[in-house]
Every structure is written in structure tokens, then in C-alpha cells.
């Protein structure tokens, strides 16, 4: 297509195939007005104190907590139902910390949906966020505010610091809010992201897609499945497919250790006699229209396939369960600092990101293995966002929390010195498996808090509840988190 804004020269046919040779009379096309000041502005659909993006467990907890702190709350959900990924997690084991009982995913979600419904929280369903901007007045006020000043004047005239452009079946609209909570969850890593080569036949699914097909839509993705990756979703699907009548040939994991929880290896694979091959991966996929077989190879310690170890395994379906990545298009668009280790926005202990008034919680911050902690992070983010909207919380002075090499990552990455008297939780994953260790928050050689862990594993996120800090942290000095062997004879038991 030619650019419609460019006037077509009169009397010329150009390369037009019709009527070539005849001098066609074409009137000059007036270029449409494209002045910046004539920009179309969508109608405003609503204005809230706290706007939550995502109606899964994190978003529901955030919305409920913000409402209970006295805010007018709006919730945006792109699907027609709330509950997020829990809708398709029909297995049990949810809520052991939150409710001290075993619930299925839908049961866990429904408990929070009942709470949200009872509070009359406004849910914009079937609504997709196209973009987000931070009001210029809000941005101008942080640059005008000296970094050391706790006074927060980030509220513009109508109080809206954020404008979200959303789309639903009625059109495109704006929704305004004083503070914004991102609860956008995570996405699955795809087969292409782990460099599986070969043809592209039907029958290759990510574990979450397979779970959606089996548990929500009622389709069986294959009769003879190979599962790549020992993440929890893959293990859960191995059992689910077996129950539904599919044969799961084996689960292959490139790493020398399984990435899923030990209890899932036991109850999903061992119960049904499904073999788990560690240090093995899928190197090629065969099949034209449909998967017919895969090539499996043994891997070295660097997860590289070892030449000469390849063998062919027949199957009609490959389920790829190779990890999850936080979903952060909105956080990035709003300029939040993203952590390299978690791939989610950096947050402080109140779950505020590097952008004042922008909060994030749940799996978009870091990938959790338990929904109970997702809910807890949502609750803290929702409460903090409500306090920010009410002008009771500022984007105060923050000092980084630096993790030692013994840890893969820790959340929060920042410590808001202004909120130092509030209890908080540090979530971390260790790099290796250790028994009987102590996690310590240290500043300038002084231990601020410590917690004993009987076992730490990379697969299992640790939650270190920090009550009152032993001293008020210095705002000009970073805090270190490290893991060390417990000293014999330590008084802490």
C-alpha cells in the first residue's frame, strides 16, 4: 500500500495496472491532519485510587488488601473470568500456608473471588491493557523532589499518576489511577527458546497450553507424550495426561537435578511409574504434519548434548516444561528497573518498583513455586499502593539489598528506609542445596536480622520473615544478604 498521506501527482497512473496508458484523472489527496495537538484521546472509563492489572491470585489479593485499606479499587482482567492460571490448575496442594489445608487451584481462587465480590470491587473483565503512561506531572514532581526528601508531592491535579489505555469489546478507553499494581504473572519459555531443532509439526505444546487444553477445553493433546523439563507444571501434566488416558513415555531433564519440587516427583511420576531421565534432553523433533518421534541425547554438566548418545523415541506429542519468565511489558514501558536475576522489576519490601507509585507482585516479580507466597506479596503490594494513593506513603529513600554468591536471587532488591519499622519478608533461592544454614541481613558488619533454614534448595523458594530489625538501617549503605553454615552451639534453635 502506498502512503495515504502523500499526495498523488495529478494525471499520472504510476504503476497502477488498471487503465494503464489512459490518463486517469485522480484528484490530489489531501494529507490528513497529523498535528500532535489534535491527538485523539480515548474516553475515560474510570478513575481509581488503586488500579490492579491482572485478576489472578496476586491481583485478587492486592485488590482486596487495597480495598480494605480504604481505597477505591479497580481490577483489569483480560480474560472473561477471574482466577488467572489457577483456573486450570485442577490439582491439589494449594493453600497449605494460607488456609492450612489442601485446596485445588480453582478452590483457592474462588475463596478470593468470593472476598472480592463481597467487597464490591470493580472488575473490568475481557479488558486488555494496550499501554500505560505515567502522568507528566507525577514524573516532574519526582525530579523536582530532592532524593533525600521524604515528602511526596507526586499527585497531579486530578490525583491520577497513571493512565492506562485499555481495549474491550466497546472500544478503546483510558483508566486513571493514583497508584498502579502490576500482577501480570509470567509466561512459559518456549521450545524455540531452548533451541530444539527440526521440523515444526503439530503436537508440540508448552506445559501450560497442554494444561489449558486438558483441564479447561477438554482436549487430549496427544496419546503418547514425551515431556521435556522437570518443572512443576511438567510433572503435574505427566500425571494429568496419564489419568486422562495418555501414555507418558518419560520426562527428560537437561540438568543433573530435577527443577520441580521433590513432592511432585514422588506423587506425579513415581506413583504412575513414569521414568525421569536427568541429564537428558530433546535435541530434534521428527514428523511432517504431526510429531512422530524425538531424538534424545545425554547432556554434560553444562547441559550440552553429548555426541554419540542420541537415540530416537517414538511419540506423538512433546510437552515443553522448561521454565517461566515474568511478564513485564507494562513495567518496562513505565520505566521500572528490571532485575537481571529474576527478570522482574526490582522492588522494595513494600513491593514498590523503582517508579514511584508503581507496585508489582506475584509471578511478574519473580516466579514462585507456591501460590500462598504470591497471595502474600499481593496483599503487601495492595496495602502499600493504597497508602501511596492516600498520600500516606512516599517513594522514600531506598538502599540496595545485595545478595551473596550463595544465592540465585532475593526479593526485595531494595530496602525502603522509611518503612524500616514494618515487618517484611525476604524471599530467596539458594544456588545449591545446603542443610542447616542461617540467612543473615547484614549492614556494615551488623546483623539486622537472621533466620535459620533446615534445608535450602534451588527448587524451593525460602521465605525469611523479618520482624523488627535489630537496628535502623543506614540509608547510605547497602544491605547484604548471605547464607552461611550454622555455627555449632548457636543459641538459636
Amino acid at each position: 500500500m502506498s502512503d495515504p498521506t502523500r499526495p498523488v501527482p495529478n494525471g499520472r497512473t504510476g504503476a497502477g495496472p488498471i487503465g494503464a496508458g489512459q490518463p486517469t484523472q485522480i484528484e490530489p489527496v489531501e494529507a490528513p491532519a497529523r498535528r500532535a495537538d489534535a491527538k485523539w484521546v480515548p474516553k475515560t472509563l474510570g478513575a481509581y485510587d488503586v488500579l490492579v492489572v491482572g485478576g489472578g491470585p496476586a491481583g485478587l489479593a492486592a485488590a482486596i488488601a487495597a480495598h480494605d485499606t480504604g481505597s477505591k479499587v479497580g481490577l483489569i482482567e483480560r480474560e472473561g473470568r477471574l482466577g488467572g492460571i489457577l483456573k486450570q490448575c485442577v490439582h491439589d496442594g494449594f493453600g497449605t500456608i494460607e488456609f492450612k489445608t489442601h485446596l485445588t487451584g480453582p478452590e483457592y481462587a474462588e475463596r478470593f473471588m468470593v472476598q472480592a465480590a463481597g467487597r464490591g470491587i470493580a472488575s473490568h473483565l475481557n479488558t486488555f491493557v494496550l499501554g500505560a503512561t505515567r502522568a507528566a506531572s507525577a514524573a516532574a514532581s519526582d525530579s523536582g523532589t530532592p532524593a533525600g526528601n521524604a515528602r511526596d508531592s507526586a499527585h497531579s491535579k486530578d490525583g491520577a499518576n497513571f493512565v492506562l489505555t485499555v481495549e474491550n469489546q466497546n472500544g478503546i478507553f483510558n483508566i486513571k489511577s493514583k497508584s498502579l499494581v502490576l500482577a501480570t504473572g509470567c509466561r512459559e519459555r518456549t521450545a524455540r527458546q531452548v533451541f530444539i531443532h527440526g521440523t515444526r509439526p503439530a503436537g508440540i505444546y508448552s506445559a501450560g497450553t497442554a494444561q489449558y487444553l486438558v483441564n479447561v477445553q477438554g482436549y487430549l493433546p496427544g496419546r503418547k507424550c514425551v515431556i521435556l523439563g522437570s518443572g512443576d507444571v511438567g510433572l503435574i501434566m505427566a500425571r494429568r495426561l496419564t489419568l486422562e488416558g495418555s501414555r507418558v513415555v518419560a520426562v527428560y531433564e537437561a540438568k543433573p537435578e530435577p527443577t520441580g519440587l521433590a513432592r511432585n516427583i514422588s506423587q506425579c511420576l513415581d506413583d504412575y511409574g513414569i521414568p525421569l531421565h536427568l541429564s537428558h534432553t530433546v535435541t530434534r523433533v521428527f514428523g511432517d504434519e504431526r510429531v512422530e518421534a524425538v531424538e534424545i541425547a545425554q547432556c554434560d554438566k553444562a547441559m550440552k548434548p553429548i555426541a554419540g548418545t542420541e537415540r530416537i523415541v517414538d511419540c506423538d506429542c512433546v510437552i515443553v516444561a522448561v521454565g517461566l519468565i515474568p511478564e513485564n511489558e507494562l513495567a518496562e514501558a513505565l520505566g521500572a528497573e528490571i532485575s537481571v536475576a529474576t527478570r522482574g522489576p526490582q522492588v522494595d519490601q513494600t513491593f514498590q518498583t523503582s517508579v514511584p507509585g508503581l507496585f508489582a507482585c506475584g509471578n511478574c516479580v519473580h516466579v514462585h513455586d507456591l501460590v500462598d507466597y504470591v497471595t502474600e506479596s499481593g496483599r503487601v503490594a495492595g496495602r502499600s499502593a493504597a497508602e501511596y494513593a492516600a498520600g500516606r506513603r512516599s517513594a522514600g529513600l531506598r538502599t540496595p539489598i545485595i545478595t551473596s554468591n550463595s544465592l540465585l536471587y532475593a526479593v526485595p532488591q531494595l530496602f525502603d528506609v522509611g518503612a524500616a519499622n514494618e515487618p517484611f519478608t525476604v524471599y530467596f533461592r539458594s544456588r545449591n542445596t545446603h542443610q542447616d544454614v542461617v540467612a543473615r541481613l547484614v549492614q556494615n558488619g551488623e546483623v539486622l536480622a537472621e533466620s535459620r533454614c533446615a534445608v535450602v534448595r534451588p527448587q524451593q523458594m525460602q521465605a525469611m520473615a523479618v520482624g523488627t530489625l535489630s537496628s535502623v538501617p543506614n540509608q547510605n549503605c547497602s544491605i547484604n544478604l548471605d547464607l552461611s553454615a550454622r555455627q555449632p552451639g548457636s543459641r538459636k534453635e
Binding site: L45, G46, G80, R81, L82, G83, K87, V90, H91, D92, G93, T96, I97, H102, L103, T104, G105, P106, E107, A109, E110, M113, V114, A116, A117, G118, R119, G120, I121, A122, S123, H124, L125, N126, T127, N168, Q169, N170, V214, N215, V216, Q217, G218, L243, E244, L261, A262, R263, I265, S266, Q267, D271, D369, L370, A454, V455, Q460
Partner: protein, 145 residues
């Protein structure tokens, strides 16, 4: 003490389990000493009970889905309200495959009493029509052309 000695002597018959009661996933060891089992590795009493159940009669909650008559929600999640023996899981699944429910089922409603003779009931683990509260943009199917 007898346990320790038997373990050292190598006369104990031992079995290992991963506890599935909570996400900690303790590594349990059961050692058979003179007709009774001694459990170690558990960090709570539930772990001991789990290991003993694994030895005598392993049981599980079964979670699955049943078909519904609804067009918008083709499947409803279900679970057994009590643990059923692991060996009965295929029989319970065969029952589950045959079920078709209406879309007015609520969470916790019993769908099948005493499913496959296990003594456990099959209950809905979600409401077919979930509570939504104030919905500002529910898709109105009657307006779709």
C-alpha cells in the same frame, strides 16, 4: 536405639519416601525393626503418618474434571473429598469419564456419592458460575452477531 543399631548392622529393612503433605517435601526413611516401622526424617507428626500409610496402603486425593452441559464452561474441576487408595485411581477415573453435570453446580456440591465404591465422594472443586462481584465488562453473548 534398636533402630539405630539395626541400621548400623544392616539388618533393618528400610524404605525411603518423599512426604507430599506439605511443600517442604521431607525425605522420610522407614526402618523395619522386629515387626514395626520406625520413621525418621519427618519434621512433623503428619510425616510419620504419611510414611506409615505409604507402607500399608498408599492413598491419594484424585483431582480431575467432568464434562458440563454448558457451552462456555465445557469442564468443571472435581476432586474426591477423601483420600482413596492409589490402586483405585484408574477405577475412579473410569467413573469420572462417564459424568456430565449441569452448569448450576457450586463448589463443594457432591457430584457422585461413594465414587467407585471407595467411600469417598466426588465433589465440585469450583462453581460453574463463579462469583464475579461488580463486573464492568461482561461479554454479552446475545449481542454478538
Amino acid at each position: 536405639m534398636a533402630t539405630t543399631r539395626a541400621l548400623i548392622d544392616g539388618t533393618a529393612q528400610t524404605r525411603a519416601f518423599t512426604c507430599i503433605i506439605c511443600p517442604r517435601g521431607c525425605d522420610l526413611t522407614a526402618a523395619r525393626i522386629e515387626g514395626s516401622w520406625a520413621i525418621s526424617g519427618n519434621r512433623c507428626p503428619m510425616g510419620r503418618d504419611f510414611a506409615l500409610a505409604e507402607i500399608n496402603n498408599p492413598k491419594r486425593i484424585i483431582c480431575s474434571t467432568v464434562r458440563t452441559s454448558s457451552r462456555t464452561i465445557p469442564l468443571l474441576p472435581v476432586k474426591t473429598d477423601a483420600e482413596v487408595p492409589l490402586e483405585d485411581v484408574p477405577r475412579v477415573m473410569q467413573e469420572i469419564f462417564k459424568i456430565l453435570v449441569d452448569a448450576d453446580v457450586g463448589m463443594g456440591d457432591v457430584i457422585v456419592h461413594n465414587v467407585a465404591g471407595t467411600g469417598a465422594n466426588l465433589v465440585a472443586s469450583a462453581s460453574a458460575t463463579m462469583p464475579m462481584g461488580v463486573v464492568l465488562n461482561e461479554r454479552r453473548t446475545d449481542r454478538c452477531h
